[in-house]
Symmetry: C2
């Protein structure tokens, strides 16, 4: 005889969804979420007792918040999400991601779940300490375009560091191509940034893009660290968020990580489906161990509104299972001219990412960088 | 002095996008894709020569295909995608995924890229050989609901196998929870299916859900194989597609894989953004090594149309870099009553996935399964 009893702690994970439709449709869709995200069987097949009462998602509240829009709060036994980020995401929105008219807006991280996540290793405070900057937003740029030789890329990195940029990252399209071999690029760029730091007494970090195959990215990170990289760029949309969590959790690596939004757009392009920008770039980024979260700021080449950007900032620093607050990194076609406005909007606790525009602004890169810094400092209250 | 020369083979990767907007907007957006997906710098910063001529994406054609909709064909030097699935996806749609009004519809796999991908290990022919079924679609079901004990789940698996279901998979929500430990569940379920096979002379396979943390899924797959699992269920939306590729490529594991669509809905919910269902469930699934690709069939709980389902089927079997054809697996709320219609629609070269409805159809599970098989066989021409 099997000795077995379904035992639940009673602790619940709470998720908020926006549902399109009238009241009746919203009720039907809400009930469908409760089942779809857990037992996934027809109503009449759900066993009575603990499974029906506590494993099936539970409706906490449903209220109209706009025309044809309802907010549903649903909670789940934390045991459904278990101890794994993959299953937590599955629990929150796995199959429901396939349904029209349902958007995951936010979720909390109760202590019983938070215990499974280390979150950001550095966070805002840790990253500030590494670059030794207290009095202004941090500044970041990217070495590009792809197709330049490793030496040319390293020369760019050198100029950026000499100009005092805090975080100098690989462009997210630099992987391990025949024209941009990972190892040679990383060795040269890390060395170039160290050389500049030696010359100007700065503390710039070179962030290597270690996004890559699941069986190689940890080795790349180790290689980069061994050769003097100061952190990583990581496109979790391409690798899955859990790969970033793996990288962040590794005590033998222990360098800061910027999350890059490549291949993450799917979550946020539809207003009535997907996941809210703040949940993706704020909460999930923190869960997965990012120290900074790059997102397309309003007014650039992409489409987030100022309100969405504000919501992202909020979720980078709100109380969330005790995880560290992280830097919002405003990117996506920012320009030097807009620095005062961007600093006014984001304040001091942000990273400004300016890529191509730094190279467009006259031939003296070092001067351009200094102008960038002066302008950011000046804009700070 | 650096000895370095940017050398490209001349071979190109071709991608098709649908662009929302009038002619002028489409031209502007198309040019933006060519830059965004490669060099990602302002037009005037792009170096002349190979980078401007051949690294930047090249517009092959742009034509109006509907009101406010254009089809853009763009090709890229295959060296940009390199030898990695993560970078191939990044090249096709990384940053552009963040932009409104642009959808990736399809892409090809030229020989120089195909050489880097093993693709499906079994494919349709290999999977048919394993289950020894030639004359009808394959049949699949899931053990659920979560919250049942490992023994209860194994009892279900036993009945399904005794009833002759070809593929008996873990529900995708069964991970490694306190109430459903991976190892105990897999041991019991694999043993139950083997016992049933011994009794009825069948060749049912138990597919263990090995979706999980990036540093654990390979070990889970090895454990499952060692304990008699016949294949895997894998939710690549939760892990990233490259994790599935890693699993499929491992010669020491070498079992068939069904791709589950959990957390993949983001790609397809918006009609004017994201990636087409056929590219996701057909082409990318094959690139990443799935032998069968589960998708929500028309008429179930989800939202694909018959046309979209037909396009998926096409892309599971079309010429694509020489990769094996794979099974479309029609799921998502299918019922026993609909078997004749589903078989008529998909034909013999498909897998029918019926989950909860098998359990709803009367208390004798074994009989329900036999009815399912009889009905599928009868519907075959």
């Amino acid at each position: 005889m099997e000795q077995w009893r379904l035992t639940l702690s009673g602790e619940r994970l709470r998720a908020v969804y926006h549902i399109t439709g009238n009241r009746e449709e919203a009720e039907e869709r809400t009930r469908a979420i409760c089942i779809e995200q857990t037992v996934e069987v027809p109503e009449e097949v759900i066993p009575d007792g603990e499974i029906r009462d506590n494993i099936v998602g539970r409706l906490v509240s449903l209220r109209e918040i706009g025309e044809q829009t309802h907010e549903a709060i649903i909670d789940y036994a934390i045991e459904v999400a278990g101890a794994e980020l993959t299953q937590l995401l599955n629990n929150l929105f796995g199959n429901t991601s396939l349904k029209p008219g349902i958007r995951l807006v936010t979720f909390d991280l109760p202590p019983g779940l938070a215990a499974h996540y280390k979150g950001p290793r550095f966070g805002r405070a840790g990253l500030r300490k590494l670059v030794q900057v207290d009095d202004r937003p941090l500044l970041a740029t990217a070495i590009k375009p792809m197709g330049l030789s490793p030496k040319q890329l390293a020369d760019l990195a050198y100029s950026f560091a000499l100009g005092g940029i805090d975080l100098i990252k690989d462009d997210h399209g630099l992987a391990d191509q025949s024209f941009s071999r990972f190892e040679e690029r990383v060795e040269r760029c890390a060395a170039a940034v160290h050389r500049a730091n030696g010359e100007n007494g700065g503390h710039s970090l070179y962030l290597a893009n270690v996004t890559g195959p699941v069986d190689e990215f940890v080795d790349r990170a180790r290689f980069a660290k061994r050769h003097g990289a100061g952190g990583f760029l990581f496109s979790a949309g391409l690798t899955g968020f859990d790969a970033m969590r793996r990288l962040a959790d590794d005590d033998s690596i222990a360098l800061p990580i910027l999350l890059h939004p490549a291949f993450l757009g799917f979550f946020t392009t539809s207003p009535s489906e997907g996941i809210s920008p703040e949940a993706v770039y704020g909460r999930i980024a923190r869960l997965a161990g990012a120290d900074g979260t790059i997102f397309p700021s309003y007014g650039g080449r992409f489409a987030f509104t100022p309100e969405q950007c504000r919501a992202i900032v909020h979720d980078t620093e709100c109380d969330f299972g005790g995880l560290e607050s992280i830097f919002p990194v405003a990117g996506g076609g920012m320009t030097l001219e807009r620095v005062p406005e961007i600093v006014e909007f984001y304040g001091k606790e942000a990273i400004l990412l300016i890529g191509g525009d730094l190279q467009r602004h006259g031939p003296d890169l070092v001067e351009n960088c200094r102008g960038f810094i002066a302008s950011a400092r000046e804009a700070c209250p």
